[in-house]
C-alpha cells in the first residue's frame, strides 16, 4: 500500500495546500508513478530543438517521461518524433544519442525503417504470408508533436490541450529567448551535459524560481564575485511571476543590472523545461529519488561573437556534473531527498510572499511561482477532467 495511504484524488487535495505541501510527495514511489501517468505520459513536454536535427537525416534520441523517443528530420525536411521501439518485437531501433542516417536498422531481425518511419525492408518478408502489410508496421509516431519557434514538444496523449493552450503565458519566455537573436532564432548544437542527481525531479522544477537560495547555495562559486551585497534581497527589485499552467519566471528587466547575468529570460515551462538566460535545462524524472538534469548552452543565430562568448564561457564554468554552480544545486536537492525521509514535520513550507498571491506576482525572492507550480500539479493529480 502507498505511503500516501490512499491514492484517491482527495488524498492529493490534502497533501497539497495553498502554502505548504507534504514531504511525502517527494519520497513516495506511488506518487511518482501517478505523476508519470498523469503528467509526463499525458501532457506536453519539451523534447528537443529543431536545430538539433537541422538537416535531413539528422536524428537525436531522448526520453519523453520514461519512454525512449527518436527525433528525426526526414528527407522532405519535416521534423518527426517516434517511439524508439521496433514495431516487431520492441528493441530500440537506434542506440546512439545523435547522428545522421537515412535508415534505422533494428539489430534483432533487421527490420529497416527510413527517417520518415516507413518499414522499407525486412529479411524473408514472404515468410510472413500474403496478408503482411508493411504500411501498418512502420515506426510508431509519438501521438502528438508540435513546435513553437523551433522548440519541439511531444505528448503521449492523443487528445487534450493544444501546445498553444499548454504554453499559455509561457510562450513569452520562448519569444524572449529567441529574440535575443537579431533574426529571432536560436540553435542548440553544442551537445548536452547529462547530470544524474539523487533527488526528486520536482526539486529542480521548483528551484528555477527560487531566488532565495543563490547567495547561500552558490556562495562559493566565484561567479557571484563583484555583485552588490544586496543583489539577492527584496530591496534590489525584480519580480517573480506565476504564469499559470505551472509555468513561472523571475524577471529583473525593470531593474538595472539585476542578478540575471545571461541574456535571455529566466523561467520554467511545466513540467520539464528551464530557460536559464543563456542555457537550456531539461529535467528527466528517473525514479522517485532520481532525476537527470540535461544542460546545453544557447547559440543565438546572428548574434555577434563578442556578445555570445561570455555566455558560453559562463556555461562552461558553471554547469554540468563538474561545474561550479550545478553541483551545489544538486547537493542541496540530494540533502533534501535525505532529509525528507523524516516523516515529521509533514510539511514543506512555501509561505514567502503569500500576501501577493492574488496578483500572481511578488518580489523576486518570493515563492509565488512555486505555489503556481503546485496549484497546477494539484489539478493534474486530482482532476479527471483537467487531464483528459
Amino acid at each position: 500500500m502507498s505511503e500516501v495511504g490512499d491514492s484517491s484524488s482527495s488524498a492529493y487535495e490534502r497533501l497539497i495546500g495553498a502554502d505548504r505541501v507534504s514531504g511525502r510527495l517527494y519520497t513516495d514511489p506511488d506518487v511518482f508513478e501517478r505523476e508519470l501517468e498523469r503528467i509526463h505520459h499525458r501532457g506536453w513536454m519539451f523534447v528537443g530543438h529543431e536545430s538539433e536535427v537541422a538537416t535531413p537525416g539528422e536524428f537525436v534520441t531522448r526520453r519523453l517521461g520514461r519512454q525512449p523517443v527518436l527525433l528525426t528530420r526526414d528527407d522532405t525536411g519535416a521534423v518527426r518524433l517516434w517511439s524508439n521501439r521496433c514495431p516487431h518485437r520492441g528493441a530500440t531501433v537506434c542506440a546512439l544519442d545523435q547522428g545522421h542516417t537515412r535508415f534505422f536498422r533494428c539489430p534483432y531481425h533487421a527490420w529497416t525503417f527510413d527517417n520518415a518511419g516507413a518499414l522499407v525492408a525486412l529479411p524473408g518478408e514472404e515468410g510472413f504470408g500474403p496478408t503482411f502489410n508493411r504500411d501498418t508496421h512502420g515506426l510508431a509516431p509519438v501521438p502528438r508533436m508540435d513546435t513553437y519557434r523551433g522548440f519541439v514538444f511531444g505528448s503521449w496523449s492523443h487528445e487534450g490541450q493544444t501546445l498553444t493552450e499548454h504554453l499559455g503565458n509561457a510562450r513569452d519566455l520562448i519569444d524572449r529567448a529567441c529574440d535575443v537573436s537579431p533574426v529571432g532564432e536560436i540553435s542548440l548544437r553544442a551537445g548536452w551535459l547529462r547530470h544524474r542527481i539523487g533527488a526528486n525531479w520536482k526539486m529542480a522544477a521548483e528551484n528555477v524560481c527560487d531566488f532565495y537560495h543563490p547567495p547561500i547555495t552558490h556562495g562559493s562559486s566565484g561567479l557571484m564575485g563583484g555583485v552588490p551585497p544586496d543583489y539577492f534581497t527584496d530591496a534590489y527589485g525584480g519580480v517573480t511571476r506565476d504564469l499559470g499552467g505551472g509555468h513561472g519566471e523571475v524577471d529583473y528587466r525593470q531593474t538595472e543590472g539585476g542578478p540575471q547575468t545571461g541574456l535571455g529570460p529566466h523561467g520554467f515551462i511545466f513540467p520539464n523545461l528551464f530557460i536559464e538566460a543563456s542555457s537550456i535545462f531539461v529535467i528527466h524524472p528517473v525514479s522517485v529519488s532520481e532525476m537527470t538534469h540535461l544542460q546545453t548552452p544557447i547559440t543565438w543565430v546572428g548574434l555577434p561573437e563578442k556578445m555570445q562568448r561570455p555566455q558560453s564561457r559562463r556555461f562552461a564554468m558553471a554547469f554540468g556534473a563538474a561545474g561550479v554552480i550545478e553541483p551545489d544545486d544538486a547537493a542541496t536537492w540530494e540533502r533534501m531527498q535525505l532529509g525528507l525521509q523524516a516523516g515529521e514535520p509533514e510539511w514543506v513550507v512555501l509561505e514567502r510572499g503569500v500576501q501577493y498571491d492574488h496578483t500572481r506576482e511578488g518580489r523576486a525572492l518570493d515563492e509565488i511561482a512555486m505555489r503556481g507550480f503546485w496549484r497546477h500539479y494539484r489539478l493534474l493529480m486530482t482532476d479527471e477532467a483537467a487531464v483528459r
Binding site: 551537445g191 547530470h195 547555495t217 556562495g219 546545453t296 561550479v324 542541496t332
Partner: protein, 169 residues
C-alpha cells in the same frame, strides 16, 4: 637515448604523475597548482574523446584562473557539495612516454606527451563511485623541473549520464 636514460626518464615522469595524484588525494591544492605552468589547460571532454572544446560542451575546460577558482571552492568552506568534501584515491598506471622532444617527435614548447590511465575511487555520504579514464599529459621543462601544460582526461563514460564530479580527476 641509452637504456639507462630511458629508464630514468620513465621514472621521472611517473614520479610526477604519482605526485600529482597524491597531492589531489591529500587535498594539497596549492602544491597541485604549482605543478602547472601559467598557460595550462585542464580538459575533461563530454560526449566523446575528440570533441572541439570551443563549439561543444565539455565537463571541464579550465585555464589556470578557472582551475584556481575550482580549488578555491574546495577549500573555501562555502560549497555545499564540499560538506563534507568527497574523499578520493587516485590509482595511476599504464604510464607511457608517447612522444618526446628529445627524439624529435614533438615540437614547440612541449617536452613530453604522456599517456596513462587513472581510476579514481570517490566516496561521499551515501555515494561510492569509481571513475576510470585514459589521461594525456603534456609536460614542459621549466627551470629544470617538469611541469604540466595540458591535461586531458578521457572518462570511459563521458557520453553517459554522470553524477557530480566535484573533485580533481
Amino acid at each position: 637515448m641509452s637504456g639507462i636514460e630511458e629508464l630514468l626518464e620513465q621514472q621521472r615522469v611517473e614520479q610526477l604523475l604519482f605526485l600529482e595524484a597524491r597531492l589531489i588525494d591529500e587535498r594539497r591544492f596549492a602544491e597541485w597548482e604549482a605543478l602547472w605552468v601559467e598557460d595550462g589547460i585542464y580538459w575533461v571532454p563530454a560526449n566523446g574523446d575528440d570533441t572541439d572544446p570551443r563549439s561543444q560542451v565539455s565537463l571541464i575546460y579550465d585555464n589556470r584562473s578557472r582551475m584556481h577558482n575550482r580549488v578555491e571552492r574546495y577549500v573555501g568552506g562555502k560549497a555545499i557539495s564540499q560538506q563534507p568534501p568527497p574523499r578520493t584515491v587516485h590509482l595511476v598506471s599504464n604510464v607511457t612516454i608517447e612522444l618526446a622532444a628529445s627524439d624529435g617527435t614533438v615540437d614547440g614548447d612541449v617536452s613530453l606527451v604522456i599517456h596513462s590511465t587513472v581510476q579514481v575511487a570517490e566516496s561521499r555520504p551515501g555515494v561510492r563511485v569509481d571513475w576510470v579514464g585514459r589521461v594525456i599529459h603534456h609536460l614542459v621543462e621549466r627551470e629544470g623541473a617538469l611541469r604540466i601544460i595540458f591535461k586531458k582526461v578521457l572518462l570511459v563514460d563521458n557520453d553517459q549520464e554522470l553524477t557530480t564530479i566535484d573533485f580533481l580527476l
